[in-house]
């Protein structure tokens, strides 16, 4: 053998896992989750909890924090152990890891924030089946190093929280006339109860998606205009 095979030269020192996301700076991994690839507004994942608990801003904060906790720790663990997890049982392993951290989050909430834990009810244990977390594990954390997985988990977690807060703010302000429990409009405001009920959730979500879609189209049109 005289020449080094071409493939060896082209490939990075560490063989790239098929289907792995292209290399990007960490800041981009983080930012993607918040804007360009927001889990709720763009990927349309995690809509169930978004709809169910978004009638109060405090619920949104609690749910966002719990999801962020689970995302960060499960992504970190899955990414660190990705080389020892056999391909055939990766999904089962991911779910085991996710379940562990969800239960931890639930127990910690029950112990140190019992009131929030009571209002969120079953939706904290239900983070186990939140597609955002398994989705990130399968599409990202299982294929890249821990640093990128962490940046991505924080981005997706904050992105989810941001979407929740937008929904919660619309629904709590219009539906209860309060923000984080503080009365905004004085005693003469008649709260539009419709908004804290499920139909109000669908409407708020539709409005949010409409705004996001319009904004995305405008951005695209601007880019197209600039390149001409």
């Amino acid at each position: 053998m005289t020449a080094i095979p071409v493939e060896t030269l082209e490939q990075a020192p560490e063989p790239i896992v098929p289907g792995a996301p292209p290399p990007q700076p960490l800041a981009m991994d983080f930012w993607r989750g918040i804007a360009d690839d927001n889990p709720v507004m763009i990927q349309m994942l995690g809509l169930c909890p978004t709809m169910a608990i978004s009638n109060q801003v405090s619920n949104g904060l609690g749910m966002g924090a719990a999801t962020l906790f689970v995302l960060v720790f499960s992504s970190l663990m899955i990414s660190s152990l990705r080389k020892v997890i056999p391909n055939e049982v990766r999904l089962a392993t991911y779910i085991l890891v996710i379940c562990t951290f969800v239960t931890i989050a639930d127990l910690i909430m029950q112990a140190y924030s019992p009131l929030l834990s009571r209002t969120l009810g079953p939706f904290v244990p239900l983070i186990v089946v939140n597609c955002i977390i398994l989705g990130r594990a399968e599409a990202f954390a299982g294929k890249v190093g821990p640093m990128r997985a962490l940046a991505d988990a924080f981005g997706q977690g904050f992105g989810f929280t941001l979407a929740l807060l937008i929904m919660c703010t619309i629904r709590e302000v219009i539906g209860s006339g309060t923000f984080l429990g503080f009365h905004l409009f004085g005693p003469h405001y008649e709260p539009q109860l419709f908004f804290i009920m499920p139909p109000g959730g669908f409407l708020s979500m539709g409005l949010m998606f409409l705004t996001m879609g319009w904004w995305g189209e405008r951005k695209k049109a601007k880019l197209a205009g600039a390149s001409k």
Partner: protein, 224 residues
């Protein structure tokens, strides 16, 4: 050199070790199961204290609230279908059904507090109900747990003016109405939360209905 076959081979094959042995698959799952179990056992132990403490405090606060700050409290336990001052040997104090009797500074009985529940609009409504067993007059109630519709049904817990509507009313039995009332055994329900309000009334009637006979029997027995 022929050893480079898989280095530049078909990118479709995911990893060189595709097709791991069954033992390795089992080991991986068992390992993650055990690891998760271990972490959870530790977290459970660490959080059990605060969780139990909070549950205990919640009951104590609720009892004091529904009886209007009693000077002293007595606890009776339900043994079989009778009330007793003591639990039979080996019974778990935490698991036992209890009734709390509150006394004022002069040693007169203010009322009793019991825990009762019923299905509401979307959850079970658990209440601590305080009442005078002789007259069935209510001294108050406190929601221990509920997950009724936020903003509507949860007013049974979050709207303090709703609770005050019940104080002094007679549960013989208690009824609900949609308009304002001065009737001694009728209370006004919350607009938009009729079912949740009615659940509260139902719990109160259930509490008084099941506990008044027991308390009367106990009073008769201990009075002899």
């Amino acid at each position: 050199m022929t050893g480079h076959q898989h280095g530049g081979g078909a990118p479709a094959t995911p990893t060189p070790d595709a097709g791991s042995s069954t033992a390795r698959l089992l080991f991986t799952l068992a390992f993650f199961g055990a690891l998760g179990g271990g972490i959870l056992a530790y977290t459970y132990q660490k959080t059990l204290g605060p969780i139990r403490k909070f549950a205990g405090e919640k009951v104590e606060v609720a009892v004091k609230e529904v009886l209007g700050a009693p000077a002293t409290l007595d606890t009776l336990y339900l043994v079989g279908d009778k009330l007793s001052k003591t639990l039979p040997q080996g019974a778990d104090v935490l698991e036992a059904t209890k009734v709390f009797i509150g006394y004022n500074g002069k040693g007169e009985q203010i009322g009793v507090a019991v825990e009762e529940f019923t299905p509401g609009f979307s959850s079970e409504v658990h209440l601590m109900v305080g009442f005078n067993p002789a007259t069935t007059a209510l001294t108050g109630f406190k929601v221990l747990s509920q997950t009724e519709t936020p903003g509507l049904g949860d007013k049974i817990e979050k709207d303090p003016s709703f609770m005050t509507r019940f104080v002094g009313k007679l549960a013989n039995p208690l009824k609900g109405t949609k308009s304002a009332t001065t009737d001694a055994s009728t209370v006004q329900t919350i607009t938009g939360a009729t079912i949740s309000s009615k659940a509260v009334i139902k719990v109160i009637n259930k509490a008084v209905g099941t506990w008044k006979p027991r308390l009367d029997a106990y009073a008769k027995e201990s009075g002899k």
